[in-house]
Symmetry: C2
Amino acid sequence: MISENYLQMVKQAQYQLRGHKTKSMKDEMAIFNTLKDCQMPDVYGKGEVIEAFQNTLSKEFNKQSAVFFPSGTMAQQIALRIWCDQKGLMCVAYHPLCHLEIHEQDGIKELHHIDTVLLGEKDHLFTIDDLKNMKDVAAVLFELPQREIGGQLPSWNELIEMTAYCKERGIRTHLDGARLYECLPYYQKTPSEVGELFDSIYISFYKGFGSITGAMLIGDEEIIREAKIWKRRLGGDLYHLYPYIVPAADLFAKRKGKMAEYYEYAKAYALKLSSIKGISIHPTIPVSNMFHVHFNDTAERVMTQMIDVMKMEGVALFGGINATAEGFAKTEISIGDNYGLIEESIIDKAIERLRIIRS
Amino acid sequence: MISENYLQMVKQAQYQLRGHKTKSMKDEMAIFNTLKDCQMPDVYGKGEVIEAFQNTLSKEFNKQSAVFFPSGTMAQQIALRIWCDQKGLMCVAYHPLCHLEIHEQDGIKELHHIDTVLLGEKDHLFTIDDLKNMKDVAAVLFELPQREIGGQLPSWNELIEMTAYCKERGIRTHLDGARLYECLPYYQKTPSEVGELFDSIYISFYKGFGSITGAMLIGDEEIIREAKIWKRRLGGDLYHLYPYIVPAADLFAKRKGKMAEYYEYAKAYALKLSSIKGISIHPTIPVSNMFHVHFNDTAERVMTQMIDVMKMEGVALFGGINATAEGFAKTEISIGDNYGLIEESIIDKAIERLRIIRS
């Protein structure tokens, strides 16, 4: 009840700090008006529009090939299935809060009969020690940044050590890079430097890039050739994929260079919020455009406070507020174009208002 | 070589007899310019735009529920998987040339571990006798019309007999209705009369309806609720599906009433073609908007003949010409908006030209 009121007010607030501008269907598809009359659809994975975008991404990561998928769920299951079949070992390892474990209705198990090893604990990243204590698997999935714990990252050296450990043991390294571009400014690395560490890479276009839907799987020729067969098996080899590809290619080009800005804003915003008593930020200093905010309050109380902030300052500081297992409030912040469009004084006034309300 | 020349000429021919007008990406997406600024995207299967279209289809078939899928491949595998799991018997029966058997890289076997019984022979429909000789299965897939053999149909009474036989034995009936609306004018039946015969129904929106991509699975509440879980498992529960839904809903409404016209044109066109020596039509009299054309000639010779017809009359009578196992030429005709836009005398002149060239 309060949750509905709160979310309705967030939607209508004058200032949105998170994400990109919310667009109608008409606005999102307006990009198609800029195309030429001669630009024709892709057909079952063939055609200029899909092949050009696939080439762009394979070059970015200095890999031989890439294939566009309607979803990351499909792309990642397929990559892991191929690595398992190749090794004749139906088992992979990943973090207990990775997308496959908590958001896909167990597709990897129900569809592919792949066993999973959970690496490390729910509240922090897995480490080289977790890998060393792991039984043999066909592949390890690394998620950079680890979304469900606020977008934490291993250091670059830890990442090199962990991926090298896997490769030495004939274990494939797969990257869940749904938000990879968002953390490259922290690592100060290029996509191809990341590409060197992984056998297969998945990128999403509707997180920081803010496109409609869609994913890319990137790797060497052999896995991508096999992935296209699996794409047909899962019903992802759609007659036309261009409604997702054209916006994704456009926003990939436009926002790739803006990730550093989003990262700086995330750090600035996190710093402001962390000055308020009873609020903590995870990770303490963001390492991408995202972070989690934890409160020493119930979700209901935080929503009540936020409704007051919105009424008085017109600013939606947060989106949905959830309850943790311990009954405290928690929210996720992802920074996009919106933050930079708002004068800092307006943000500061809203933060001050929240401080007063909570004091 | 000749095949490339031929297809290039078909594409550029002044008159296209088959299908609908070929559209650019820009033209196909122009529908979005007619939306209101307040019309917002669906989000993971929720929202006005997807729910309204799902309701339209479930009402059409007088079923409790429906769910939109990015592809029929995904929708049908899921329906059959649910029926198999429900019965605890991982086996279904279908025609040897059905989509699952020849166009899906064995997804039903590789992903779902479902065994298949092939009903009847490759050159004709299966019958009640084939069902009576069949071992026990969880479901039978009926494809109306049976595309790969020219779009043949059982009589309505045979269909009632066969589906009743299945139901009596606790075997689920699934309809591959990719082109169902295209054959309703022949049956003179409503969708809900068809719906009575089947436990689950799949409809495609980019065959006769000529939309971009997308499918609907229709059935009772329980199967659709489970199908939504499987949709997520297979990676089909996309963030936004509206780029496929908006055009599909528009063209479904616009072309539903035109299927009778396409059917009449198909019969007229088939009659004209069958008057030429060495050409045979399957089925002899079309029962939908589609039919197959067989020639007593090689594909190469037919393409050479067609190039001459196009040079002299500007008419592309056929699309791609394929070789049968026996080395003869074969092509598929599907009638859409194009046929009715061309004056009959132009079609007749092209037919006469073909007759002369082949005599």
